[in-house]
C-alpha cells in the first residue's frame, strides 16, 4: 500500500498518545505497517503533545513539515499552529472545542476566532472536518473520550486504509474495560458527526 502520514496534535492530557496506540493496534490487526513517533516534552505541565504516525511503505517514523496527508487536531488553535505540517493536499480534522492557553485565560494573549480558524483550514488545505468533540464526548458519557470521538471522525474521513471494524477491535484491546461502552459510543458519535460535517 501507499504511505499515509498522519499528524496528531493535542494539549497534554487530551489522550492523543492513547489514540496513537489504538491506531497502531488497528494497523497491526489490518496487517498495515506502521511507524510512530511522539514528542511529549513537558506534557503534564500544559505543553503540546504531537504524534506522527506513518502507515504503509515508508520506514521513517517522523513526518517533515508540509508532508502530512492527514492532520488531526485535538484543539483548534493547535490545529492551526500545525498548519506548517500540511500542504494543499492535506485532509484536516479538528475538534472545535477550545482549551485556551494559560496566557489567554489570564487576559495576556488573544485566542484566534474559531470560525476564522475553520475558514483558514478549509481555504488552505484539501478538506476540513470540524466537530465539537468535547460536546460529543460528554454525550458519550465522559469528557475523557474526546480522543476516541476524534478517532471516529478520522476513520469516517476515509484517509486510512483500514476498516471501522478493525479500529473498534483496537479500541476494545487498548482502552480500559470500565470505559469501553463509553468509548464505543464516543467512536460512533464522532463517526456520525464527521459524516454530517
Amino acid at each position: 500500500m501507499e504511505t499515509t502520514r498522519l499528524i496528531m496534535v493535542a494539549v497534554g492530557g487530551q489522550g492523543n498518545l492513547l489514540a496513537s496506540k489504538v491506531l497502531g493496534e488497528a494497523a497491526l490487526i489490518s496487517g498495515v505497517q506502521v511507524q510512530m513517533s511522539e514528542i511529549h516534552g513537558m506534557a503534564q505541565r500544559g505543553g503540546v503533545v504531537e504524534s506522527a504516525i506513518v502507515f504503509g511503505k515508508a520506514t521513517s517514523s517522523i513526518i517533515s513539515d508540509g508532508e502530512a496527508d492527514i492532520l488531526l487536531g485535538f484543539e483548534p488553535a493547535e490545529t492551526l499552529r500545525a498548519l506548517n505540517r500540511c500542504s494543499k493536499d492535506t485532509k484536516v480534522i479538528t475538534n472545535t472545542a477550545t482549551l485556551p492557553p494559560f496566557t489567554v485565560s489570564i487576559g495576556k494573549g488573544v485566542y484566534p476566532d474559531v470560525e476564522n480558524i475553520k475558514e483558514l483550514l478549509k481555504e488552505k488545505c484539501a478538506s476540513l472536518i470540524a466537530i465539537d468533540a468535547m460536546k460529543l464526548a460528554k454525550e458519550a458519557g465522559t469528557p475523557m473520550s474526546v480522543n476516541i470521538v476524534l478517532l471516529g471522525a478520522l476513520v469516517q474521513s476515509g484517509g486510512l486504509s483500514f476498516t471501522k471494524e478493525n479500529v473498534i477491535e483496537a479500541i476494545k484491546r487498548r482502552t480500559k474495560k470500565s470505559f469501553l461502552d463509553m468509548n464505543l459510543n464516543a467512536f460512533e458519535l464522532g463517526f456520525k458527526a464527521a459524516a454530517q460535517s
Partner: protein
C-alpha cells in the same frame, strides 16, 4: 505480569523504543541494572524498576550516574550481566569511571546506554556522545529502529562478554520515543549471583597496572575492529556510483528518500550500526567504486572525519561531504524531507519539494509554554523568596528539574544553570565574585545527585549565600522516580533506607538551617528573610510534596478555592503567581475548581481576602 516479562517468543507487540530496549535486556538475561533517570532514557529504567518488583532482576535508582556506573561496574566484575542507562549528559557525570572501567574491563556482559537528545527536546545541550566511545575506547552500537534497538541490546551483552569490555549503546530521542511492532525473542535465564575473583593486576588501577591495561585495551579494540568489519549491523544496501554512509534514525530517511527520488539503481548505502571502532576495510572497499559520497549523521562529523581519513589512506580522490553550509548541519535532528532534498541536491537529481502553504492571514497563535502545575509548591517558594528579597540585588542560580521553569515570568527566579548541581557550586563563585546577594534553588533529588559536594565546599571555604532546597519528596520532572530522601513505604516498597536532608545539611556544618512549609506564606517569608540576612551559608528546606505525586498517591484532601464578590480586581494573584487554575471570565478573575488543589497561596496573597474555599 509485566508485559515485557511475557515469555512467548514470536509474539508481536507494539512497543515504545525504551520498552524495546528494556525487553532486549531481559531477553539477554540481564541480572543487574542501575540508573539515574533522565529523558529520553527514563522509560527504560521505569520498566526495569517495575519488572524488578516481580522478578529476581536487581534494579536500583542510584544517587547519580557516576554512582550508577560504579555500582554496575562491580556487578559486571562479579560476572553478572549488567545494564547501566542514562541520558547523554549523565555520561558526563559518569565519565570518570567510564574512562578507567574501559581499562579494567568486565567479566560479565555490561552495556552502558547513552540516550542522546538532538534538538534538545528536554536537555540542556545536544552533545554527540559517540565521541565517548572513541575517547574511552569502547565498542559502540547505534540502532536505526525500535526493533533493532532490542536486537542490539541482546547482541551488546554477547559482544561485551567476547571482548570483556563494556559496550556503549547509543540511542537518540527518535529511537527512545518511537513506537513500532517488535517480535519477542526467547528470554535467556538470569544468573543473579556472581563471584568476584581477585585479580589486582587487572582491577587495581595503580600506574604500573594501568600501563599494562592500556596496552590490553588497545588490543581489545583491535579485536573489536575485526568484529566491526564483519558485523551484520554494518550493512550495505544497493549498488551504484552514488555512495551514502549513514547511521541511526537517518538510515530510514535515506531509504525512503532514495526510493522517492527513484535513484535505487545507482545508489549504494552503507549503514554503520557497529560504529566504534569503524570498519576500516569495509569503508575503504565501499568507497572504491563510488564517484561521490555523502555522509549523513545527526550531530557532529564523527563518521565523516573518519571516512575522509580512510579515503586519504586508500589514495582515493573522490568528493566526500557531509557537514557544510549547503549540506547538513551540526544542529538539531534531521527529517525525511530535509534528507531527501540534500541527497537530490548533492547528486544532482531533479526534485521539487512540496510547495509550502502561505502563512497569509494566519492570526497570531498564543504560545502554550509549559508551566508549573496548579498547586506546585515551587511556585509558592519562588514567590516567597521574591517577597523576602524585595529590596535586595539578588542572583538566583537554579538547577535542573521542574523548578527550572521558575525562570519564566512572572516569577523570574532563575539566573544561571549549566548542569545538575551547579546551583550550589556556582553560588560559591557568585558570592565571592560579586557583592550581590546570592540565593539559589535546588530540588531534593538533584541535591542528592550532585548538590552535596558543592555545599561541603561552601562550608569549608566560608562562602556567603542562601540555598533553598525544594523538598517535594520525589524526582518529579522525569516522572516520579524515587531518590534517597523518599519514603519508599509510601510507594508500597520495603527494604529501603531514607536520608533526612535536614540532618544531612546540619551534619555538613551549615550553621543556619531553617524549614518552611511554603503554603504558609507569611511565616515562610519571615523565615526566608532571616536566612537571607545571615552572613555565611544558610540553607532553607522548603517542604511540601509534589502536587502531581500527592494526587497520584491520593494524599491530596484539600478542596478547591473560589474568588468571592469581595474581589476588587487588583489581580495581584494572577500577576504575581500565575497559577494555571486562574482564568478571566467577563473581565473577572475566576478559579477552575477542577484543577485547583487548594494550596491556598493565592488566598493568602489577596489583599481583600476575596479568595475562599468552596463550601462542600
Amino acid at each position: 505480569m509485566h508485559k515485557l516479562l511475557n515469555d512467548s517468543p514470536g509474539k508481536q507487540i507494539m512497543l515504545l523504543g525504551n520498552e524495546a530496549i528494556a525487553r532486549g535486556a531481559i531477553e539477554a538475561g540481564v541480572a543487574f541494572a542501575t540508573t539515574y533517570p533522565g529523558t529520553p532514557s527514563s522509560e527504560i529504567s521505569l520498566n526495569l524498576f517495575q519488572m524488578s518488583q516481580e522478578s529476581d532482576l536487581y534494579f536500583e535508582y542510584s544517587t547519580n550516574e557516576k554512582v550508577a556506573l560504579e555500582v554496575a561496574a562491580a556487578a559486571a566484575n562479579s560476572g553478572l550481566r549488567t545494564f547501566c542507562m542514562m541520558k547523554h549528559v549523565g555520561l558526563n557525570v559518569a565519565a570518570d569511571p567510564f574512562m578507567t572501567l574501559a581499562y579494567v574491563g568486565v567479566t560479565g556482559g555490561m552495556v552502558i546506554l547513552s540516550a542522546d537528545d538532538p534538538s534538545m527536546f528536554s536537555s540542556q545541550n545536544e552533545q554527540d556522545n559517540r565521541y565517548y566511545a572513541k575517547f574511552g575506547n569502547l565498542p559502540m552500537l547505534e540502532p536505526s529502529s525500535v526493533f533493532e534497538a532490542k536486537e542490539m541490546m541482546r547482541y551488546a551483552f554477547d559482544l561485551s562478554e567476547e571482548l570483556k569490555q563494556p559496550v556503549l549503546l547509543r540511542t537518540t530521542t527518535r529511537i527512545n520515543h518511537s513506537n513500532a511492532f517488535v517480535t519477542f525473542g526467547d528470554i535467556a535465564p538470569r544468573q543473579t549471583k556472581g563471584k568476584f575473583i581477585r585479580e589486582p593486576l587487572r582491577c587495581v588501577t595503580v600506574p604500573a597496572v594501568s600501563r599494562q591495561l592500556h596496552v590490553k585495551l588497545l588490543e581489545k579494540m583491535n579485536k573489536a575492529k575485526g568484529l566491526s568489519e564483519t558485523s551484520d549491523f554494518n550493512l550495505i544496501k544497493g549498488s551504484g556510483k552514488f555512495g551514502i554512509i549513514v547511521n541511526g534514525v537517518s538510515f530510514h530517511y535515506v531509504l525512503d528518500a532514495v526510493k522517492d527520488l527513484g535513484i535505487e539503481e545507482n545508489t549504494k548505502i552503507l549503514r554503520l550500526g557497529f560504529s566504534n571502532p569503524m570498519p576500516e576495510k569495509l569503508i575503504k572497499n565501499f568507497l572504491k567504486d563510488c564517484e561521490k559520497v555523502l555522509v549523513i549523521e545527526e550531530g557532529e562529523a564523527f563518521m565523516e572525519e573518519a571516512v575522509k581519513a580512510f579515503a586519504q589512506e586508500a589514495e582515493l580522490i573522490i568528493p566526500i561531504n557531509g557537514k557544510s553550509e549547503e549540506l547538513f548541519s551540526r544542529l538539531s535532528e534531521y527529517d525525511p524531507a530535509m534528507v531527501r532534498q540534500k541527497i537530490a541536491a548533492y547528486f544532482g537529481i531533479e526534485y521539487t519539494p512540496k510547495e509550502k502553504l502561505s502563512s497569509d492571514n494566519i492570526p497570531e497563535i498564543p504560545m502554550r509554554p509549559p508551566n508549573l502545575c496548579s498547586g506546585c509548591s515551587h511556585r509558592a517558594t519562588f514567590y516567597e523568596v521574591k517577597q523576602a528579597a524585595k529590596d535586595m540585588d539578588i542572583i538566583c542560580p537554579t538547577d535542573i528539574g521542574c523548578y527550572t521553569l521558575g525562570f519564566l515570568p512572572p516569577l523570574n527566579m532563575g539566573d544561571f544553570v549549566i548542569c545538575m548541581g551547579s546551583s550550589v557550586s556556582s553560588s560559591c563563585g557568585f558570592s565571592k565574585a560579586t557583592d550581590q546577594k546570592v540565593v539559589s534553588f535546588i530540588g531534593d533529588s538533584t541535591f542528592f545527585h550532585s548538590g552535596i559536594t558543592g555545599l561541603v565546599n561552601a562550608v569549608f571555604n566560608n562562602h556567603n549565600f542562601t540555598l533553598v532546597i525544594l523538598e517535594n519528596g520525589i524526582t518529579a520532572m522525569t516522572g516520579h522516580q524515587p531518590h534517597p530522601g523518599v519514603d519508599m513505604e509510601r510507594m508500597g516498597l520495603d527494604g529501603f533506607g531514607r536520608i533526612n536532608i535536614e540532618n544531612l545539611v546540619r551534619a555538613l556544618g551549615v550553621e543556619h538551617v531553617s524549614v518552611i512549609k511554603p503554603f504558609k506564606v507569611k511565616k515562610s517569608i519571615e523565615t526566608i528573610r532571616e536566612a537571607l540576612e545571615y552572613k555565611g551559608v544558610s540553607v532553607i528546606l522548603s517542604q511540601e510534596p509534589c502536587a502531581l505525586y500527592a494526587k497520584s498517591l491520593k494524599m491530596l484532601t484539600s478542596r478547591a478555592f473560589k474568588v468571592s464578590d469581595k474581589c476588587v480586581d487588583h489581580r495581584d494573584c494572577v500577576n504575581s503567581i500565575a497559577c494555571p487554575s486562574f482564568y478571566i471570565e467577563d473581565g473577572r478573575v475566576k478559579i477552575d475548581a477542577d484543577t485547583c488543589v487548594g494550596c491556598a497561596v493565592c488566598a493568602q496573597i489577596c489583599p481583600e481576602n476575596a479568595i475562599t474555599p468552596i463550601k462542600k
